[in-house]
C-alpha cells in the first residue's frame, strides 16, 4: 500500500480501478497562415500567453509553502514574459507567416538547442524548463481532445497529467469514479466541473506519471486530498464504509429532488444555481434548482484566445436560457479586475486592483466590449427569461449610466432590425455604499443580489487573498450582517427580491440566519442545492427571524458564531 497526498479540488470518496490517460503527442497540423490572418494569430498568441501566466500565478499562490516549486514556476512565468521570446515569436508570425503553434515550437526548439550545446551541465539541463513552458503553451493552444475512451467503465479512477474540460465532461457522462492528476489548479474549468458534478478530484500528485499505472486498485479521498494505491484490506474496508455512508447521504438528498424549498413553518425560499461555464448546465438540471441565480460571464473572456463576439455570446446565453426554461437565468456582466485581462483589453497594471478599475468600472472604461455583451444579452432575451445584473455598483449613479447604455444598445439593434427584449435589471450589492443606499437603489432596480465575499472584504477592509489578515475576514461580523439586513429590509419595502449569491449562501452555518435577516433567494453551486433544501425544510423561519434580531445587536463576529452555534441546526449537515 502506498499513500500520496495532493490537493483536493472536488470532495467525495472514490474506490476503483485506475485508467491512465496518456498525454497525446503535440501534433501541429497547420504550420503557415495567410497575411490576412496575422492579426488573429497575434491575438491568439497573446491570449495564450496570458492564460498560462494566470495559470502559473494561481499555482504560485498554491505553492506558497514550498519555495522550490514556487521558484520553478516563477522562472516559467519569466520565460513567458521574456521580451525576446515575445518579439521572436511575433516576428515568426508576421514575417514568416507561421501559425502561433509553429512559431512557438520553432522558437523553443532553437532555445533548447542553444542550451544543449553548453558544456556546463547545469545550464544544459535548463532546457527542460523551456520544454515544459513550450508544452504547456502548445497544449493550451491546441486544446486537445481525446478519443478511444469509449471502453471506460463506470467507477473507473482516471489518472492523467492534466485534463481538458471537454474530455472531463465526456468522462463524467461515462460515470467515472474520480480523478487523480499530476497538475491542475483549484479554479480551472475542470475543477469547477468536477465540483458541480460531485466527482472527487485530486490534483498536484507528482507521482502520477512515474508510479501510477493502468489497472491498479486505488482510493481517492477528496475530503483530505489523500490518494491510496494498492490499499490493504483494513484500509479498503474503512473506505468502503465511508463510501457507503456517502452514497447513503446522496440517496437521502435525492429524495429532496422534487420537494419544494419551504421552511417547516411554510415560508418559501427560492434556490438557484451559480454557474461559470455552460458545461455546468447538466448539474443544474440534475439538481432541479429554480434556474440560474448567477451566471458569471468572465470565464467566457478569460478562457478564450480572443474577445468573444456578439454572436458567440448570443448563442451561449440563448442556449443556457433555453436549457434553464421555464426558470430564469440571471446573467452578471463581466466581473474582473483589469489585472486579469490586461492582454485582451490593453490595460495598464494597477497598484491596487481591488479598489481599482474592476466590475462595472472596467465595463465603462472598455465600453465597446461592454456593449457587445449587452447587445448579445438583449437579443438572447427574446424568450423573456433573462435577467441582467451588474457588479461593483457603488451607488445609483452607475446604475443609471448602465441603463442609458442599454437603451442605446437597444436602439442599435432596432437599426439593425434585430429582435430583442429588455431584461429585468438588477445590481450586485457588494460595496458597502450600495448596501447603505439600498433604499435609493431599490426604487429603480428590479432585484438585488448580495455578493457576500466582496461585501465582507470591502466592509472590513480585508484582502481575501492576504494570509496576514485572514483572521480579520469575518463573514459573521455584525457590520456585515447589518448591511445585509438593511438591504433586505429596503428590498422588502419596495417589493423586490433580494438574493445572496456569495459563499455565505452555501454555508449551512449561515443559511438560516440569512433567511431570518430577510433574504428571499439563495444562489449556490448546483452541488449544494439539495443539501440546502434539506436544511431549509428542517428550520423554522419565524424562529430564525427572532434569532436574527437578537444577533444584530451582538458585539463581535465571535458572539454571533456562538449564538448561532447554540441553535445547532446545521451540525448534521456540515
Amino acid at each position: 500500500m502506498q499513500v500520496y497526498s495532493g490537493l483536493a479540488t472536488s470532495h467525495g470518496i472514490a474506490i476503483g480501478i485506475s485508467r491512465k490517460i496518456l498525454r497525446e503527442p503535440l501534433e501541429i497540423k497547420q504550420t503557415s497562415i495567410t497575411p490576412d490572418e496575422i492579426t488573429r494569430e497575434l491575438q491568439r498568441f497573446e491570449a495564450g500567453v496570458e492564460s498560462i501566466i494566470l495559470e502559473l500565478d494561481e499555482l504560485i499562490k498554491l505553492y506558497s509553502h514550498s519555495r522550490d516549486n514556487r521558484d520553478i514556476l516563477t522562472t516559467h512565468k519569466m520565460i513567458l514574459m521574456d521580451p525576446e521570446f515575445l518579439i521572436r515569436v511575433r516576428t515568426k508570425i508576421t514575417k514568416e507567416l507561421f501559425t502561433t503553434e509553429h512559431a512557438i515550437q520553432q522558437h523553443f526548439a532553437e532555445v533548447v538547442e542553444l542550451f544543449q550545446k553548453m558544456d556546463n551541465e547545469y545550464f544544459a539541463q535548463r532546457s527542460a524548463d523551456y520544454k515544459d513552458v513550450s508544452d504547456r503553451l502548445l497544449s493550451h493552444l491546441l486544446n486537445k481532445s481525446s478519443d478511444s475512451l469509449d471502453s471506460i467503465e463506470a467507477g473507473t479512477i482516471i489518472i492523467s497529467d492534466t485534463i481538458s474540460p471537454s474530455l472531463l465532461s465526456r468522462l463524467i457522462q461515462q460515470n467515472i469514479g474520480g480523478l487523480c492528476l499530476e497538475r491542475g489548479t483549484r479554479n480551472s474549468h475542470s475543477s469547477i466541473i468536477a465540483r458541480s458534478m460531485n466527482v472527487p478530484m485530486i490534483i498536484n500528485v507528482p507521482q502520477v506519471s512515474t508510479e501510477f499505472a493502468d489497472g491498479q486498485m486505488m482510493i481517492l479521498d477528496g475530503n483530505t486530498g489523500t490518494v491510496i494505491l494498492h490499499p490493504d484490506e483494513a484500509t479498503l474496508q474503512e473506505y468502503q464504509k465511508k463510501l457507503t455512508q456517502q452514497q447513503h447521504r446522496r440517496d437521502k438528498l435525492q429524495e429532496m429532488l422534487y420537494e419544494s424549498a419551504v421552511t417547516s413553518d411554510g415560508h418559501p425560499v427560492i434556490l438557484r444555481s451559480n454557474i461559470e461555464i455552460p458545461e455546468e448546465m447538466t448539474a443544474v438540471l440534475d439538481a432541479n434548482s429554480d434556474g440560474i441565480g448567477l451566471f458569471r460571464t468572465e470565464f467566457l473572456f478569460m478562457g478564450s484566445n480572443h474577445l468573444p463576439s456578439e454572436q458567440e455570446q448570443y448563442n451561449m446565453y440563448r442556449s443556457i436560457a433555453e436549457q434553464a426554461a421555464p426558470h430564469s437565468v440571471t446573467i452578471r456582466t463581466i466581473d474582473v479586475g483589469g489585472d486579469k485581462l490586461s492582454a485582451l483589453l490593453n490595460l495598464d497594471r494597477e497598484s491596487n486592483p481591488n479598489l481599482g478599475c474592476r466590475g462595472i468600472r472596467l465595463s465603462f472604461a472598455k465600453e465597446e466590449v461592454f456593449r457587445v455583451q449587452i447587445r448579445a444579452v438583449l437579443r438572447a432575451n427574446i424568450t423573456g427569461s433573462i435577467k441582467l445584473m451588474f457588479p461593483m455598483i457603488s451607488g445609483i449613479g452607475e446604475f443609471r449610466k448602465v441603463k442609458d447604455i442599454i437603451v442605446q444598445c437597444g436602439a442599435e439593434l432596432d437599426d439593425r432590425g434585430e429582435p430583442w427584449r429588455m431584461p429585468d435589471l438588477g445590481v450586485m450589492i457588494e460595496v458597502p455604499s450600495a448596501a447603505l443606499t439600498a433604499d435609493v437603489l431599490a426604487k429603480e432596480v428590479a432585484f438585488m443580489s448580495i455578493g457576500t465575499n466582496d461585501l465582507v472584504q470591502y466592509t472590513l477592509a480585508v484582502d481575501r487573498d492576504n494570509d496576514m489578515v485572514e483572521a480579520y475576514y469575518q463573514t459573521a461580523h455584525p457590520a456585515v450582517l447589518r448591511l445585509i439586513e438593511h438591504t433586505a429590509q429596503q428590498a422588502a419595502a419596495h417589493n423586490i427580491p433580494v438574493a445572496v449569491c456569495g459563499e455565505m449562501a452555501g454555508d449551512p452555518r449561515y443559511l438560516p440566519l440569512l433567511l431570518g435577516l430577510g433574504v428571499t433567494e439563495l444562489s449556490v453551486s448546483p452541488s449544494r442545492i439539495l443539501t440546502l433544501k434539506q436544511q431549509i425544510r428542517a428550520i423554522s423561519y419565524h424562529h430564525w427571524k427572532l434569532v436574527a434580531k437578537e444577533v444584530l445587536s451582538l458585539a463581535t463576529a465571535r458572539d454571533v458564531e456562538e449564538r448561532i452555534t447554540k441553535e445547532g441546526s446545521y451540525d448534521s449537515l456540515r
Partner: protein, 87 residues
C-alpha cells in the same frame, strides 16, 4: 550610459533562481539593460538571454545600463550580485 564590471561570487553561478531575480529586478527599471560576457552581449531583461550566458562562479561580466534611471538600476543590480542573490 553606465558600464560596470562584476565578478560572480555565488557558488552556483547565475542559475535559474538568481537569473529570475535578476530579470525581475531589471524589468522594474525603464532603462535598457544589457550584460556582456566575453564577446556575448544579451538583453538583461530576458531570462533566456541571462541563462544562455551560462555564467558560472568566477565569471567576469559587464553590466550596461542606458536610460533615465540607469544609476539606480546599476546600483540595485550590483547590490544583488554583492549579496550573492541571498544564497
Amino acid at each position: 550610459m553606465i558600464r560596470k564590471r562584476i565578478t560572480i561570487t555565488n557558488p552556483l553561478g547565475l542559475h535559474a533562481r538568481p537569473a529570475t531575480m535578476l530579470v525581475k529586478l531589471a524589468t522594474k527599471f525603464r532603462s535598457e539593460f544589457h550584460i556582456r560576457k566575453d564577446d556575448m552581449v544579451i538583453n538583461g531583461k530576458s531570462i533566456m538571454g541571462v541563462m544562455t550566458l551560462a555564467a558560472e562562479y568566477g565569471s567576469e561580466l559587464e553590466i550596461i545600463a542606458d536610460g533615465v534611471d540607469e544609476t539606480f538600476l546599476i546600483n540595485e543590480i550590483t547590490e544583488l550580485f554583492q549579496t550573492n542573490f541571498g544564497e
